[in-house]
C-alpha cells in the first residue's frame, strides 16, 4: 500500500495546530481547535482507504480502479457530527459571552476553594469535624462486615 506523504504531513501539522488551540482557555479557540482536529482525523480516513483511485461509485463493473467507498461514507458521517458539535460549542461560547462578557473557561468553584485552603495550609472543615470525634455509628458495622 502506498501512502501519500503530503497527506500524512498535512495531518501532522493540522493535528499539532488543533491540539495547541485546544489547550487555550478561550472557548472560541477551542472550537477552532476541535474543527482542525476533526479535519485531521478525516484526512486519516482518506489515507486509511488506500491509494487514491477514481471516484468511489463509477458506472462500470470493474471495481479495481475505484476508491474504497466505505471510508468516504464514514468521513461524511464524521463531518456531519463535527459540524453539529461545533455549532453547539459556538452556542455555548455565545451564551458564556452573554452571561459573563467573555468566553474563558473558568476553574471549578470547589477546585478554587480547595486551592485556597491549600494556600492557607488548612484542612477542610469536614475533616476537622471528623477528627473532633463525632459519634460514628457506622464504625461498628465497618469492622464486622468488612473483616
Amino acid at each position: 500500500m502506498t501512502v501519500n506523504l503530503v497527506l500524512v504531513i498535512a495531518i501532522g501539522v493540522t493535528f499539532a495546530c488543533g491540539v495547541t488551540l485546544l489547550l487555550e482557555r478561550s472557548l472560541t479557540r477551542i472550537v477552532v481547535g476541535t474543527l482542525l482536529i476533526g479535519n485531521a482525523v478525516n484526512l486519516i480516513f482518506i489515507v486509511a482507504s488506500g491509494a487514491p483511485g477514481r471516484a468511489p461509485i463509477v458506472d462500470e463493473s470493474d471495481p479495481s480502479p475505484m476508491s474504497d467507498p466505505l471510508p468516504q461514507a464514514m468521513v461524511l458521517t464524521a463531518i456531519v457530527i463535527t459540524l453539529g458539535v461545533a455549532a453547539f460549542l459556538l452556542a455555548m461560547a455565545y451564551r458564556s459571552w452573554q452571561l459573563q462578557g467573555h468566553d474563558e473557561v473558568q476553574d471549578d468553584m470547589e477546585d478554587r476553594l480547595i486551592m485556597r485552603l491549600a494556600e492557607l495550609d488548612e484542612a477542610s472543615q469536614s475533616y476537622e469535624d471528623d477528627i473532633g470525634g463525632e459519634p460514628d455509628e457506622e464504625g461498628a458495622d465497618t469492622e464486622e462486615v468488612e473483616r
Binding site: S49, V85, L99, E134, E138
Partner: protein
C-alpha cells in the same frame, strides 16, 4: 429458520422507536402533557422489547439483524447477545424510572406547563444513543451511538444555560469531543489494518495483524473508551461536570453513560483482543481508579460531588473484572454493572430529594433529616449500604465474585488489586457513613458555617429552571418524585433476591463472551446459508 429470525425484527426497535418518539415530542412542542405520554409509552415499550430480547438471546444465542439487508461485512449489523440485551433491559428500566422522576420534578417546579419543551425529545434521543451503542455490531456504528448519546447529553448537561452549567458543560463537551476524535483515529487505524469495521469480522482478521499494530490499535480504543468510562488517569472531567446538572440528568448520566464506556471496553477486550498483553495495564488502571476515586469521595463535603467520586471509584471494579477476563471475572463485572447502574442512579435521585427536603446538598448545611423525613432516610440508607457492599446486598455479591476471580488468577499484582478493592469498599462505607451521620443523624444546625460565603457549590440561582442547589424553601417531599425513587430502591434491593438467576445469566453471558464463536458465527453467517441452524444449536448447548 427458527425463533432466532422471528425475534430479530425487534432488535432495531429500541433505537428506532426512541428516535421516532423524540421526533413526535419535538413536533408536539408546547403540549407538555402529550410529550410526557409519548415519552412514557415509548420507554415502556422499549423495556418490554428489551425483556423479550434478553429472553430470546438467553434461549437461542445472539440475535442478529442486517440493517437494510446488506451482507454482514459491508452494512450495519445490530446484535443482541446476552450482554447487550441484559444491559439494554437494565438501562431501559432505569431510564423509565428517571423519566417518571423528572416528570414529577417538572410538575413540582413549573406546574403543568413545562417551559423546557426540549427536555423530553432530548431524553429520548439519549435513550436511543445508549441502545444503539449496546446493540451495535460494528465499530463505526458504535461511534455513531456514542455521538448520538453524547449530543443529547451536551444539551441535557447545559439545560437552562445558567453560568455554572455552561462552565461545567464546556469541560464535558470538550473532553467528550476529544475522546470521540481518539475513537475515530482508532477506527481509521483499524480499517487501514484490516479493511473492515465489523466486530465479528475484526475478531477473525485482527489475529493476522502484526502484534505491534494490534497493540497500538488496542491502546487507541482503550484510551477512547476509558475517557468515556472515566477510568483513572482520564477521569478528572467527571466530578467536575456532573454535579451541576439537574438531579434526574445527573442520575441518568451517572447510571448509563459511563457504563456504556465500560461495555465498550468489555466488548473490545473480549471479542477483538482476547488474551491481550495489556491486561496488566488494565489492572493498574482499575486499581488506581478505585483508590484515587474513593480518596476524592472521602474529601468531599457535597453529596453530589461525593457520589460523583464514588462513581469514578466503582468503575474500577468493572475494569478489574474485565482485566481478569476469566469466566467468573467477566460474570462478576457484568453483575456489577447491573448493580451499579441501578444503585448509582438511585443515589443521585435521592440526593435530588434531599435537596428539595433539606434545601441543599452540602453536608455543611444539612442535618436532622432522619427525624424530619424517615422515608427519605430509608431511601438513602438502603442504596448507600448496597453501594458500599454490606453483605445481603447485591454490591457485596458482585464484589465477592470479583475478589474470588482475582484470587483465582493469582499473581502479586492481582492480589494487590484485590486488597485495594476491599480497602475501597471500606472507604466507600466511610464516605457514605459520613454523609449519613452529618445529613441525617446530627441535629439540624441553623447557623450557616463560615465557608458558606464563598461556596456557591454548584450554585444556580433559585427560580431558574431546574435549579440544582439553592432551593430556598424547605418543602415536603413530592409523591410524584418519591414513587419512582422508591421503585428504584426496591429494584436495587430486589437484585439481592434475584441474584441467583441474574448471576446465572451473567455467567452465561461471560461464557459467551469468552467463547466468541457464537457471536462471530451468528454475525458472519448471513442467515441464508444452511449452517445457521448449527450455530443456533451450538449456542443452545452453552
Amino acid at each position: 429458520m427458527t425463533a432466532d429470525s422471528a425475534m430479530s425484527f425487534l432488535i432495531p426497535l429500541p433505537v428506532v422507536l426512541a428516535l421516532l418518539g423524540a421526533g413526535v415530542c419535538l413536533a408536539l412542542g408546547q403540549n407538555a402533557r402529550a410529550q410526557r405520554v409519548i415519552s412514557f409509552v415509548t420507554l415502556s415499550v422499549i423495556v418490554a422489547i428489551a425483556g423479550v430480547l434478553l429472553w430470546a438471546a438467553d434461549k437461542d444465542g445472539p440475535q442478529v439483524v442486517y440493517v437494510g439487508g446488506w451482507p454482514a461485512r459491508m452494512g450495519i449489523v445490530l446484535v443482541a447477545d446476552r450482554l447487550s440485551a441484559l444491559l439494554l433491559l437494565v438501562s431501559a428500566i432505569v431510564t423509565l424510572c428517571v423519566l417518571a422522576y423528572s416528570v414529577g420534578q417538572g410538575i413540582i417546579e413549573f406546574g403543568r406547563d413545562t417551559p423546557l419543551s426540549v427536555f423530553y425529545p432530548t431524553y429520548l434521543v439519549l435513550s436511543a444513543g445508549v441502545s444503539n451503542a449496546f446493540l451495535s455490531g460494528d465499530l463505526f456504528n458504535l461511534y455513531v451511538g456514542f455521538e448520538v448519546l453524547l449530543a443529547a447529553s451536551y444539551v441535557l448537561i447545559t439545560l437552562g444555560g445558567t453560568g455554572p452549567r455552561v462552565r461545567a458543560g464546556t469541560t464535558y463537551v470538550v473532553v467528550s469531543v476529544l475522546s470521540s476524535m481518539v475513537f475515530l483515529i482508532a477506527i481509521a487505524g483499524v480499517y487501514a489494518a484490516t479493511g473492515t469495521v465489523n466486530m465479528a469480522d475484526l475478531a477473525v482478521k485482527l489475529q493476522e495483524v502484526p502484534e505491534g499494530v494490534r497493540v497500538v490499535l488496542q491502546l487507541l480504543l482503550l484510551t477512547a473508551f476509558s475517557i468515556k468510562a472515566a477510568v483513572f488517569p482520564l477521569s478528572a472531567w467527571l466530578p467536575d461536570s456532573y454535579p451541576t446538572a439537574p438531579a434526574p440528568v445527573t442520575a441518568v448520566f451517572a447510571g448509563l453513560l459511563t457504563k456504556v464506556g465500560v461495555y465498550a471496553i468489555m466488548r473490545v477486550q473480549t471479542l477483538l483482543f482476547p488474551d491481550s498483553p495489556l491486561s496488566d495495564l488494565l489492572l493498574w488502571a482499575a486499581m488506581l481508579t478505585m483508590f484515587i476515586g474513593i480518596l476524592g469521595a472521602v474529601a468531599q463535603s457535597d453529596i453530589k460531588r461525593m457520589l460523583s467520586f464514588t462513581l469514578v471509584s466503582h468503575i474500577g471494579y468493572m475494569v478489574f473484572g474485565v482485566a481478569v477476563a476469566s469466566d467468573l471475572g467477566l460474570a462478576g463485572a457484568i453483575f456489577y454493572i447491573v448493580h451499579h447502574i441501578t444503585i448509582q442512579t438511585t443515589l443521585f435521585l435521592v440526593t435530588g430529594l434531599i435537596e428539595i427536603r433539606g434545601g441543599s446538598t452540602s453536608l455543611e448545611h444539612l442535618g436532622g433529616l432522619a427525624k424530619a423525613a424517615p422515608v427519605l432516610a430509608l431511601m438513602f440508607f438502603l442504596p448507600a449500604m448496597n453501594l458500599s457492599g454490606i453483605p445481603p446486598f447485591s454490591g457485596f455479591l458482585g464484589k465477592v465474585a470479583l475478589v474470588e476471580a482475582g484470587v483465582d488468577r493469582a499473581g502479586w499484582l492481582t492480589y494487590l488489586v484485590v486488597g485495594v478493592s476491599i480497602l475501597t469498599s471500606l472507604l466507600t462505607l466511610y464516605a457514605v457513613a459520613k454523609t449519613w451521620n452529618r445529613a441525617f443523624w446530627r441535629p439540624r444546625t441553623e447557623e450557616p458555617d463560615e465557608l458558606t460565603e464563598y461556596v456557591p457549590s454548584s450554585g444556580t440561582k433559585s427560580g431558574e429552571p431546574w435549579s440544582s442547589t439553592a432551593v430556598t424553601s424547605v418543602r415536603s417531599l413530592p409523591r410524584a418524585m418519591v414513587a419512582p425513587t422508591l421503585t428504584l430502591v426496591a429494584f436495587g434491593t430486589a437484585l439481592t433476591f434475584v441474584a441467583g438467576p441474574l448471576f446465572g445469566i451473567t455467567e452465561r453471558a461471560a461464557e459467551e463472551l469468552r467463547d466468541r464463536d457464537p457471536y462471530i458465527q451468528t454475525v458472519l453467517d448471513d442467515g441464508s446459508a444452511p449452517g445457521s441452524k448449527v450455530v443456533n444449536d451450538q449456542a443452545e448447548g452453552r
